[in-house]
Symmetry: C2
Subunit: 213 residues, 2 copies
Amino acid sequence: MVLPRAAKTQRRTRIQEEKEEQILEAALEVFSANGFRGSTIDQIAEVAGMSKPNLLYYFRTKEAMHRALIDRVLDTWLDPLRELDAEGNPVAEIRSYIRRKLEMAREFPRESRLFANEILQGAPHIEDELKGPLKQLVDEKAEVIRAWAKAGKIAKCDPYHLIFAIWSTTQHYADFDVQVRAVLGQENAGDGRFEDAARFLERLFVDGLQVRE
Amino acid sequence: MVLPRAAKTQRRTRIQEEKEEQILEAALEVFSANGFRGSTIDQIAEVAGMSKPNLLYYFRTKEAMHRALIDRVLDTWLDPLRELDAEGNPVAEIRSYIRRKLEMAREFPRESRLFANEILQGAPHIEDELKGPLKQLVDEKAEVIRAWAKAGKIAKCDPYHLIFAIWSTTQHYADFDVQVRAVLGQENAGDGRFEDAARFLERLFVDGLQVRE
DNA sequence: TGTAATGTTTACCAACCGGTCAAATTATCA
DNA sequence: TGATAATTTGACCGGTTGGTAAACATTACA
């Protein structure tokens, strides 16, 4: 066979396994930093430590690479929301959702930026995922939150916008990291900002700014 | 004279005025949608309705165009924060800051995305602005907020992270608009989401989620 | 071990991209 | 009006980019 691309073979070779792993790791590095159009196959090939044609042997096109990467990362990315438990204590559930999301922003900033880049530019490659699996999951969890509010366990509020607020505040520390660091100054160079953010966000979402006794 | 670029002439021509305006408008459209690397001079020229060499007669390079655009937009972009008044009522001041920022996200989503794209990709062109004027302004306003907290006018909280939270939650509706619309579904296609967001954010920042009587 | 399948490399291509140049056209104003 | 400055255009250039072709090298396995 001349072109037994991974997709066409029955079982994947050890080499295929390894190389595709290398490539996707490199692709994550490059795509998350430059966006789709801003990234070149040559860049990715260099980071992956292989020649461009070699890389193109495993993924026929730049788009295919990007797609494979998205597919691989999206599931993990949504895990924190999936864990939101309807049976748990509402305030505690939301608190730990925030904590998990912030943890993701710290541990997987590249994944966060990958999606941020994509969505910022109109989500040309992941529109289906947004309108399908993502919307479904959010609809489901929004219903959970709505029920909590209805039962008086948390304040009445729009569950969708609550989720948006949690997404935006937490992902901000990954996506806008340069700005956060620039504003905080190099004194706070370490990971301390994540702990401060955690404290602040917990306080914000649970108590708000109103003074209370 | 062969190349009487705008910068070198003493007085700017009517034509210069008009064309530069057209170009920056087109540049905003294109850069905000595709990022710097993802945009091409041809695209901008087409949107501006002129030929590429003609455009390059007014801005010698792509970078020069981008810079002129940033310079022009940054000031407006920071206006809402500048208006935060140390003498005003703290909770009301923060509330109207949120409202102004959300208003900006609705009215000037392209400006928001322009910065988002830039910062996401490491702010290669606006590092100085972030560490200089931006940091200075934030430092100043953070001090105001800190004083409010100290005086017991608002809950004690990290003022920097409060500002980040306001930025992220409001700009989210501009930068991640596709996602917001995908999740909310086309039923909520109109601008209603901005009003819902305003209500939610006001509630969130002022009261938090805790149930209170 | 031999051979077929798999993997890698070199050389290459056409389209695109940022930018230049010189000639042509249009506006300005003495 | 005429000359000078300002503006616009088409043709072009060198470098980059996504992707291909085919020869070459390696691996797996009967």
